[in-house]
Symmetry: C2
Subunit: 222 residues, 2 copies
DNA sequence: AACACAGAAATTATCTATAATTTTAGATCG
DNA sequence: CGATCTAAAATTATAGATAATTTCTGTGTT
């Protein structure tokens, strides 16, 4: 991950915090105190406040005037919401990207799929998965659409890590392969349809809570 | 428009600037200088910088590190992009909203349509149009989706005002009526299909530029 | 006239200080 | 014992000052 040494401090802080929120290092609902963050990053709180605004825009944090900002909470409803938005927007992006996809790009997407299938932990699986989606969608050349999709992927990753914090079993991604096959055959509509279904598939898994009880965890696995 | 007197200064400034950008009072590409804005609003530049971050998130401004922020430029490509995103997302929202639509809501949406048909200027037409869309979509109960759609509507309004700054001829919105009829009959799919087409209709109109030449202006009219 | 350059002016980004508000904790009262 | 009030502590929001960078402008050079 590029450290972006020429970025402004506010950007660096927002990236670092986004990483923690996504990985689950900071709990949903936890308060983010500007002075504490400022001290940790050896800055004043001014850039910290700007970083907070960025996180807010990404939907990773929520702020109430005069009452500070906290890590955004989420529930099954929001997981579903993000899944549906991704389905709608990624399908749109793929339709526009399809005419510009070269076999070189599709080969790289296949590499990403293989890397995902080989992953033994959530983190590397997520990275490979995101690479796959980004590869086949970027050629749509619609920057606003891609930026929105990126934010949704960040949310997806958060849900994923929350549910599958540690355990992960390797699995072969048939959907990705079906999408690639359709694209290679020039059948964009079929690829788009599969993609739309793919990102709406919500995995469920029982997890043990801190109190010892088991509840069900949900996440987008695509 | 609620002035939000309990808002933080940054929010007030971002709303005021958003208004100007959308209405075209500030030109695309124009620089926003933090000290000037701060002076105008009688504040320091700290809240101004936060306001800039908000505008950036909405896609109304773009910023380059150390080089300031400018009003986002746009072209036909972006108009199309926003139209397609709106189509995809509003269709999604309507599908979820449909089961929760009451005849009271639909009546209010019809009022909004009538108000739009009677409008003699772009500004009031846009307001009525936005009210219509908001009324039939809000019951979907998906906050993230609605927030994204709101930002897209802001962009749409900007395109619209840029093209139809002064002249506006009243027109009867058949699409809105067809959508309402379908919804009243419980035919959500048909309503969604019409809505999807509706927001992708891009109006074209010749406008005279400052130099006297005529170019074509484009905007989403739905 | 076009170009490059140096210095000045303007502007952004950050820091330190202060004011306003909220949260916390302890004490008091029913 | 719980609820409510109050004062202290913590925290957010804004202001004012400073450092760093960019942009502008005029001048000299080819």
């Amino acid at each position: 991950m590029a450290k972006g040494t020429d970025d402004t401090i506010a950007v660096r802080i927002s990236k670092a915090l986004a990483d923690r929120i996504i990985s689950g290092a900071i709990e949903p609902g936890a308060r983010l105190r500007q002075d504490h963050v400022a001290e940790e990053f050896n800055t004043s709180h001014v850039p910290v406040r700007e970083a907070f605004r960025r996180l807010e825009a990404q939907g990773l944090a929520v702020s109430e005037p005069r009452r500070g900002v906290r890590v955004a909470a989420f529930d099954l409803g929001e997981v579903k919401e993000v899944a549906e938005m991704r389905a709608a927007l990624e399908v749109l992006a793929l339709r526009h990207a399809a005419p510009h996809l070269t076999s070189a790009i599709l080969d790289r997407a296949e590499e990403a799929t293989k890397a995902g299938d080989k992953s033994h932990d959530v983190r590397s699986w997520e990275e490979a998965n995101r690479a796959f989606h980004r590869l086949i969608l970027t050629p749509c050349g619609m920057p606003r659409l891609l930026a929105t999709i990126d934010d949704l992927h960040a949310a997806s990753a958060r849900f994923l890590f929350a549910a599958w914090r540690s355990e992960w079993e390797t699995r072969t991604d048939q959907d990705h392969r079906a999408i690639l096959t359709a694209l290679r055959q020039g059948n964009a509509e079929s690829a788009a349809a599969t993609l739309g279904r793919h990102v709406q598939w919500i995995g469920r898994k029982p997890v043990r809570t801190a109190s010892g009880a088991t509840r069900e965890a949900f996440a987008i696995v695509g």
